[in-house]
């Protein structure tokens, strides 16, 4: 990817939570958004966060090699969208990068959509790569499941969300993280009404749905319920390579992985 020095890129970042311990950290997808931004704009990438400027986890983004970050000071239960929207509307940003969803809080993944709607900019979901920017139009690759890609053309300025198909974020270094500046700005606060109504609870593990058993007799139900355990692990010994290949081929066809 060529660095596009002239492209004005803003990366929206949030405070994440480690999936195992829940400790605050740079959010995985947001860090990928920053990585993509660094590839596009280098040191000119503008980092923007709406939240608490005291949060140490934000330094994780600065440690990727950026000198400063703008923080729109917002309390925990605020609706940050108006603040972000009016800030971005006032800048000359051409590309706003975000992660797909936040790691803490509601995490509805709506932010890029609402932001695009508010700014009336087009939105690219699952940006994997910016191939070129010419005459106010960007040619980009969109990530699809299973490593597939789709080429899109989008006019500037636009909002793009990245997911885990985007390039992996570079390491965050301690030194630049400590030296980086969190520039706090006071902005209007809009309370998020939903959060007062909704209740958060520790995620309940969802049991895997049992196979819907169409069997009408108890015996068939029994067989269906125990089939999983007895199946799996078919071992073919003493067969010709052709027979083995045929068995594998049948499985590949059944799984539809042969294109």
């Amino acid at each position: 990817m060529m660095p596009h020095e002239l492209l004005k890129v803003v990366a929206l970042v949030s405070v994440g939570a480690h999936p195992v311990t829940g400790r605050p950290r740079r959010a995985e997808q947001d860090a990928r958004a920053v990585e993509l931004g660094l590839c596009l704009a280098g040191k000119h990438l503008h980092l923007l966060h709406a939240g608490d400027a005291e949060s140490e986890a934000l330094r994780g983004y600065l440690g990727m090699g950026l000198a400063e970050m703008t923080v729109l000071q917002q309390p925990l239960h605020a609706d940050i969208l108006p603040a972000l929207g009016s800030y971005l509307g006032a800048t000359d940003a051409q590309l706003v990068l975000t992660g797909s969803q936040a790691e803490i809080g509601e995490g509805s993944g709506m932010l890029p959509y609402l932001l695009a709607e508010q700014l009336d900019w087009p939105l690219v979901v699952g940006l994997a790569e910016v191939e070129s920017v010419k005459g106010g139009v960007a040619q980009v690759l969109q990530a699809l499941p299973r490593g597939q890609r789709r080429r899109l053309q989008v006019r500037l300025p636009f909002v793009a969300s990245v997911d885990s198909a985007a390039p992996k974020a570079r390491q965050s270094a301690f030194g630049p993280a400590q030296r980086g500046q969190l520039q706090s700005q006071k902005v209007a606060v809009v309370e998020d009404m939903l959060l007062s109504e909704a209740s958060m609870q520790t995620a309940r593990p969802r049991p895997k749905r049992l196979k819907v058993i169409k069997a009408k007799t108890g015996a068939e139900r029994m067989r269906a319920a125990t089939a999983k355990a007895s199946a799996g692990g078919k071992v073919l010994t003493d067969i010709t390579p052709e027979q083995g290949a045929e068995a594998i081929f049948a499985l590949l066809k059944e799984e539809k992985v042969l294109r």
Partner: protein, 651 residues
């Protein structure tokens, strides 16, 4: 004529030498400050040279004797020469003494020359091949020049032609020996080496001591660049130490990464630092290059980055990440240069400032930050391996004789066998022990070796805080890396503990007859010394004694004890994973197979993992704790209850 010219020549040479010394000193002083006692260091220098350094050199008898003759003869000759020829004190006795000294030096130089005729690959050539000739020239010229002083031949014999030839010889000898000493010839090692010994950054190493812990980095100075980016970011006495290198290549010969074809050669690394100190490139380096890295492409200067992000720089990052921190080079170095310190200093910059820890390095560090273990496992599962063992917890007991430091092996299914074996032994011996359980965190070893001093200090401080809540006499651990960090590196951060390796502790239990052991059955056994137990902590005997106590006669490998070859698992090397021509554990496994042993006894989870990663067929790998547990006879030892109450009374 000689009588007039010689003093001029000598004093001119001495003056130029002093100038050179001044220049050399100012080169070193570009480095960061480092507080060392200057005068006391100088006073201690002769003893450090004659005793400590000689111990290391003495491992090679030939070279030791040669050096004594050559260097002794030279120092004597040089002093007498200044008195006799410089000041013109033509005393016959002094003359004879000078003759004796030059003869001694000449003989020594002959041996040096002989060594250079068919040198091993580790020796540098180039200027170093010139050195024996210069030594011979110096000693021979002064021998002849001194003959009239001793009254052996008349003063005016030979006429001006002979005098001129002699003068050329003297000039050659003097310039190599005196000018070269401070202006950068092979003899530089004498000047820099002497001062390096005087102002060594680890004075504890002299007088039989041991200093292996890395030195802490001050993280509270946000504006200072962390780690070593440019040669001048080293402390001045580190720079001085690099200058002391004699390019003997002993480090190269023992370096596991070099042998595996990874792009590291400790000797070349030190020489590159010398190049960086003065500026230039490595085209004239006359030794083995980094495997796979041609000479002449790298260069730098005192104020240029050592590892360049763009372009070649002085050293490639792969070179620094190849090191397993096994300390074999430091152990072998006759000049007591600290290679590992330098490498970690440069790694600190790469990790803390550049964020360029290679391969899995970044993930491991992120895991350590987020989950307190390098594997990213749920810290709540740290004690799962002992779910059925009913281990006493420090948080419940508050005090115990022994604190069993489990280490991150708790998450590894293979190492859990070792841990369970050791717990069974502890229980059989009735040891009053407890574990920290979920309060334990990674010791910080890997983070520190990968250069992430911030994560190391964070982990260390939290571990020290946990440990400070409880009373115990000893920490025992099955992991030499934890042992080293707890014992040698936590001190600087305020945690001082009596830490023992499980083999040491097992040895004590056996010596106190608290274990009822049978005899090992099965095939022959060899023992692999873990670097962090042996070279880092000097424990070579205890594991062997334990093995002996269970009836194992260790079939020693050629490289064992302080010369043990690394398994390749230290210093984060499996994480950074720099490709080479072969793998270090495979080479070590070949060493093991050479003994014909059917089983290799180990005392380190890293070594176990590395050896078990070698493709079968290969000897079995078993920890000492497992071997002891295998022969444990579970009957209670009679005096068990007595010792137990003794142990309790300690508090």
């Amino acid at each position: 004529m000689l009588d007039t010219l010689l003093p001029i020549l000598i004093f001119c040479a001495l003056a130029v030498m002093v100038l050179g010394a001044w220049r050399r000193l100012s080169l070193w002083r570009q480095g960061r400050p480092s507080p060392v006692p200057l005068i006391r260091g100088l006073a201690a220098m002769p003893r450090r040279y004659l005793v400590d350094l000689h111990h290391v050199v003495e491992r090679d008898r030939y070279m030791s004797k040669t050096h004594v003759a050559t260097a002794g003869g030279f120092v004597l000759a040089a002093l007498l020469m200044i008195i006799v020829h410089g000041f013109g004190l033509h005393n016959r006795i002094l003359g004879f003494a000078l003759l004796g000294a030059t003869v001694l030096m000449f003989v020594g130089a002959l041996f040096v020359a002989k060594r250079r005729r068919n040198p091993p690959a580790r020796l540098s050539t180039g200027a170093w091949n010139r050195l024996p000739k210069s030594l011979l020239m110096f000693s021979a010229s002064f021998f002849v020049v001194t003959l009239p002083v001793a009254g052996v031949i008349p003063a005016d014999m030979g006429g001006w032609v002979v005098a001129l030839i002699l003068l050329i010889g003297v000039a050659w000898g003097v310039s190599e020996m005196f000018l070269g000493m401070t202006w950068g010839g092979p003899m530089k090692h004498a000047f820099a080496g002497a001062l390096h010994l005087a102002w060594h950054r680890r004075a504890e190493r002299f007088g039989g001591g041991r200093s292996t812990g890395l030195k802490a980095l001050d993280l509270d100075q946000p504006n200072a660049v962390m780690g070593v980016e440019k040669p001048t970011d080293f402390t001045w006495n580190q720079l001085l130490g690099f200058d002391a290198c004699v390019q003997c290549g002993k480090c190269e010969a023992v370096c596991p990464a070099f042998a595996a074809g990874q792009p590291l050669n400790p000797k070349k690394l030190i020489q590159d630092m010398v190049i960086g100190l003065a500026g230039g490139d490595d085209a004239s380096f006359a030794g083995s290059p980094y495997p796979g890295v041609p000479l002449g492409e790298h260069g730098g200067g005192p104020h240029q980055p050592i590892v360049s992000q763009e372009g070649k720089g002085l050293v490639g990052a792969d070179t620094l990440w190849s090191c397993t921190t096994c300390r074999a080079c430091v152990e072998e170095c006759p000049m007591m240069i600290e290679h590992v310190d330098a490498i970690v200093d440069m790694r600190r910059h790469l990790t803390l400032e550049q964020g360029s820890t290679p391969n899995k390095g970044a993930d491991v560090l992120d895991n350590l930050i987020a989950t307190d273990n390098p594997g990213g496992f749920d810290p709540g599962g740290r004690l799962n391996w002992a779910a059925d063992l009913n281990l006493p917890l420090m948080s419940e007991k508050k005090q115990a004789d022994v604190l069993f430091w489990v280490g991150d092996g708790a998450f590894d299914m293979r190492n859990q066998r070792t841990l369970r074996a050791f717990v069974s032994v502890l229980k059989a011996a009735g040891v009053d022990f407890a574990v920290l359980g979920l309060e334990e965190r990674d010791s910080g070893d890997v983070a520190r070796r990968l250069g992430d001093e911030a994560t190391f200090q964070g982990l260390a401080k939290r571990n020290i805080a946990s440990l400070s809540k409880y009373h115990f006499n000893t920490i025992v651990t099955c992991d030499p890396h934890s042992l080293h960090v707890l014992k040698n590196e936590y001190g600087e951060l305020g945690g001082n503990y009596d830490v023992r390796h499980h083999s040491t502790y097992l040895g004590e239990l056996i010596a106190n007859q608290r274990l009822n052991l049978g005899q090992h059955k099965g095939g022959s056994v060899t023992y692999h010394d873990p670097c962090y137990l042996g070279r880092y902590n000097g424990e070579y005997d205890a594991p062997r004694n334990v093995l002996k106590a269970i009836g194992i006669e260790v079939k020693e490998m050629e490289r064992s004890g302080f010369r043990s070859r690394c398994c390749g698992g230290g210093g984060g090397a499996p994480i950074t994973d720099i490709p080479g021509k072969q793998r270090i554990p495979d080479m070590r496994m070949d060493d093991i197979k050479e003994t014909g042993a059917e089983l290799v006894a180990v005392g380190c989870p890293q070594c176990t993992a590395m050896f078990e990663g070698v493709v079968e067929p290969r000897p079995y790998v078993k920890d000492i704790a497992e071997l002891v547990a295998d022969v444990l006879i579970e009957a209670p030892v009679p005096q068990r209850s007595a010792t137990r109450s003794d142990a309790m009374e300690v508090h």
